[in-house]
């Protein structure tokens, strides 16, 4: 089994006559790092809640690691796919950071040394180990977000879905979270993150999925999707400024995604130009 998620003709509506997701077909491989994007209300959250069985399709099927979500309960599927909600305050209820991160694995039946090892590893990964005895509400927003990620890491799931994990965080805290996700991904965990920030997509998304009105209108690498003017327009996205500038200049073979690539491109051009002059 190489696919962690397979959706087939997935259709969903919250009420009987409304359709929020239309015929979604999607395969996600183990070990991918995917950015899920689209304008407000396009169905990103709704789709992502299907990945761990919080919502079940009204039509079509979704398999999580080969299991039909309609045949399993959420707490069982959560072993495979963890979910980090947009607002960490919807889940924090313990009086120490350690206990908060231990809640999930405890529910899985872990105890003693093994539990301790898991929780310490998770807190270490998000850089909160030194705060293990602190009251969670005294942490900053970014730290609380990392705590909720730790409490998912501690459950040892194969994939983690994050709904706008960097919204409301400053630049530094956002990057720390994204670097953490990249690190987890390099350990083999599948990462699916929802975001409106195209700079983060460019930097961290190996693959990008664009939703519009409940349908997937693009599914490719960010580099390729940034060239699709119509898709960008329809999904109310804006490519990173440096990419837009390069596209306007029409001097680059392949529009760069960040300043570094832009600079490299310029250097190449200068070299070519020098070669032309000398020959």
């Amino acid at each position: 089994m190489n696919n962690i998620i397979v959706a087939k003709d997935l259709t969903y509506g919250y009420e009987r006559d409304t359709v929020v997701l239309k015929d979604i077909n999607l395969k996600i491989n183990k070990g991918e790092m995917i950015a899920l994007t689209g304008k407000n209300g396009s169905g990103k959250t709704t789709l992502s809640k299907h990945f761990n069985g919080l919502l079940k399709p009204t039509k079509g099927t979704i398999l999580v690691d080969g299991i039909d979500t309609r045949e399993e309960t959420v707490d069982r599927i959560a072993l495979k796919v963890g979910y980090v909600f947009q607002n960490p305050d919807h889940q924090i209820f313990n009086d120490t950071v350690y206990k908060e991160a231990a809640f999930g694995p405890e529910n899985q039946g872990l105890e003693g040394e093994e539990l301790r090892k898991r929780v310490v590893h998770a807190l270490e990964a998000v850089g909160l180990l030194e705060y293990e005895n602190i009251y969670p509400y005294s942490l900053s927003k970014g730290q609380r977000q990392r705590l909720s990620i730790a409490s998912v890491i501690a459950m040892n799931s194969e994939a983690i879905v994050l709904d706008e994990p960097t919204t409301g965080l400053d630049h530094r805290e956002s990057l720390e979270i994204m670097e953490l996700l990249k690190e987890l991904n390099s350990e083999g965990i599948t990462i699916i993150f929802i975001t409106h920030d195209m700079n983060l997509v460019a930097k961290y998304g190996q693959r990008m999925i664009v939703l519009s009105q409940g349908e997937i209108i693009a599914d490719d690498s960010p580099r390729n999707i940034f060239k699709m003017k119509k898709v960008i327009e329809r999904a109310h996205l804006r490519v990173p400024l440096i990419t837009e500038l390069a596209q306007e200049l029409e001097m680059f073979r392949d529009a760069p995604l960040d300043p570094q690539e832009f600079f490299q491109g310029l250097c190449e051009m200068r070299r070519d130009y020098a070669n032309v002059l000398t020959s």
């Binding site: 809640k49 761990n52 919080l54 959420v74 707490d75 959560a78 963890g82 979910y83 909600f85 607002n87 305050d89 919807h90 889940q91 924090i92 209820f93 809640f103 999930g104 529910n107 899985q108 509400y137 409490s151 998912v152 459950m155």
Partner: protein, 257 residues
Amino acid sequence: MSSPVSYISRDSIIHDLHPLTKMIASLWFLTLGIILNKPVYLAAILALILVCGFAASISREIFKSLKSITVFAFIIFLIQIIFYRSGEVAFYIIPGANLLPATLEGINFGISIALRMMIILLSFVILLSTTQVRDMMMVLVEKLKIPYDYAFMFVTALRFIPTFLGEVAKIQEAQRTRGYKVDGINPIKKIYSYVPIALPLVMMSLSKGELLALAMETRAYGIQNRRTYLKEWRMGRMDLILIIGMFLLIVLSIRLV
């Protein structure tokens, strides 16, 4: 998030009535529902309420809530006839074994109780779906002279119920993905197992309350004693006729009892 009963904006004579008239009418239905006990009278009152719903052109919505209210009323009816012991036996609920006798009086009593339930619930459904909360608040403050702060507190609490239900749903979702389950039988354990839901809710409510207070203060809440209202209501002729009519009918029904 829509709550089970919320204001439905329509153009109707009921919507145009003074909020005070409608509040009196709800109390009137409540009183009649309590003092009358013959099923015929109660059925007549219920019919009158349905007419009001029709006049408010919310018959579709009323019909929807009527369905769930009827189920509820029927269960109450069943409980009554099972536990009512005196009087002539009409039939047995489990006929073969002559078990659980239902008496004539019990049936009568059960029907009355069920009708009462429906009257009380429906009259409040109609009140809440045809009267805006802020108009009821105006009546509480201006006509009944309740201090504005208390009226505001009451109305704000009502207004936040749907929000809280939404928050509870989100918290439940978050904890479920962490393998949370409500533990079964042991009552102490059961209460304890609600902590993961209750605590985030309390924390969020506190911070919401603080924000609300701040937002109100920055918009000069409490700076002046005299308040004005977006819409000033005036008692019309229809209101007076209805209030006098209701008064007379109450006197009449006291004689009926």
